[in-house]
Amino acid sequence: MSADPEVVRLLAGVGGLLVVASLAGWVLARRARSESARRTIANLNARTRAWWVMVAVFAFSMWVGRIGSVVLFGLLSFLALREFVTLAPTRRGDHRALFWTFFVATPLQYVLVAREWYGLYSVMIPVYAFLLLPTRSAIAGDTERFLERAAKIQWGLMLCVYCLSHVPALLSLRIAGYEGENGKLLFFLVTVGQMSDVLQYVFGKLFGRHKIAPSVSPNKTWEGFAGGIAAATALGAGLWWMTPFSPLEAAGLSLAITLAGFAGGLVMSAIKRDRGVKDFGTLIEGHGGILDRIDSLCFAAPVFFHLVRYFHT
């Protein structure tokens, strides 16, 4: 996979884009005068920095191959779950159930993905963890807010582990005529999803008038949504040559990725608002913020996986 000239070209393209973004951010930061402008630009530069890290991580996972990617996303899941559980209060009676969540369910899910055991990794968390974890909490005997606590644990596990594990699972889809090139599907998913986030932000800043859900996320506007999704879908369609899809299919899949990603951002905003924090990264400074970056990916990954699996294998 490492020698694939298309991959090299793609990484060079993204790298070039980031150099431009970093330079622009640097120039803007020096010219910013007002406090609000400074804050907007600081936010923009933080996003660019996060992007550099993601591209580096991504290039690394392409280079180390399938097992490397599984390990990498397994670690991401672990760190994301850590942020999620930290901010979703549980009680002492959940301690053992959480221990199983972190140290058994999470690694097991990725071992199953590594073994390409689709029949089990697609049901292990939604069925078996779903039944066993609340049982463990019930044995501990604390009934206060029981349903709420059980729901929090299951939700964190589904989002941070189950959903995210569908990203490396893409590498084991057998698509006729595309053997050994699945790394580019990962690239397609992540690029379209992340560009959609960025483009929605940009279109929202430029043309945003009508808010979609002001009580959840004041930054999300219909103009940003429409512009960002249309532009990211067009971008995804333009990347059809690196995928096993026709241009039309690439556009359809991009639309699915962007819509699922939008839903992810919205739902996570609602959770953050409920917990009274702006970002998962800011409550606990210096740590995390991982969940803030991958919320849309968590929602988009299983949708993209199943669409590709249904239509192409």
Binding site: T86, R92, H95
Partner: protein, 200 residues
């Protein structure tokens, strides 16, 4: 060297974010006093201190826990040089204040948990009188309030396997002992100083 490794390791495991609401004076003895809800508190508070302060700081720890196994004894004696005190049978010969005052006398600092035992992590206090006596006998030592957040979920009372969650250690401004302040008024004020560091 070993101390640095242990400190770095405990900060990583506890995902500790360290906040200095008020930066401490570099010189002088200090008594860091904190809420207590986990066996990890001692280790993580000690690890959260910058190296220069950490090297001169000795946690006050219960002999019945930290002297119980070989590993704990090694950590307590060789790594963070704890002042081990008796909790069970306090007689004149085992008065826990004596060794603490001796540490402050030498210009070193202490870590104490004035609740005396681990709580459930939700309520803080009431503080026991030892803190007041330290303040009265050593008015030159800074009493630094510390709030430890979330360690009670990482390793609660009665559990032995830690969860990999994130925690936050906040160091606050020093409340001074007012001349002639009654013991209980001072202790309530000290409790409030720790409580005030709890983030919304």
């Amino acid at each position: 060297m070993i101390a640095d490794v242990v400190a770095a390791l405990s900060r990583t495991i506890a995902g500790a974010n360290v906040r200095w609401v008020d930066a401490p004076r570099a010189a002088g003895s200090k008594v860091y006093f904190a809420n207590h809800s986990s066996h990890l508190d001692t280790l993580v508070l000690w690890a959260a201190l910058p190296r220069e302060l950490r090297e001169r700081t000795r946690p006050v720890a219960a002999r019945d826990y930290w002297g119980a196994t070989g590993l704990r004894r090694w950590l307590a004696q060789s790594v963070f040089r704890a002042v081990l005190i008796e909790r069970k049978e306090i007689r004149r010969e085992t008065n826990p204040l004596e060794p603490m005052l001796a540490v402050l006398e030498r210009g070193e600092s202490l870590i104490v948990f004035p609740e005396g035992t681990r709580g459930d992590g939700e309520r803080i206090g009431p503080f026991k009188g030892g803190l007041y006596h330290l303040a009265r006998h050593r008015p030159d030592a800074d009493l630094v309030p510390v709030h430890i957040d979330n360690l009670n979920r990482i390793l609660p009372k009665g559990e032995f396997l830690p969860l990999p969650l994130l925690s936050c250690i906040s160091f606050g401004p020093v409340p001074r002992l007012v001349p002639d302040e009654p013991r209980d008024a001072f202790l309530r004020r000290a409790e409030d100083a720790v409580r005030g560091l709890r983030q919304a």
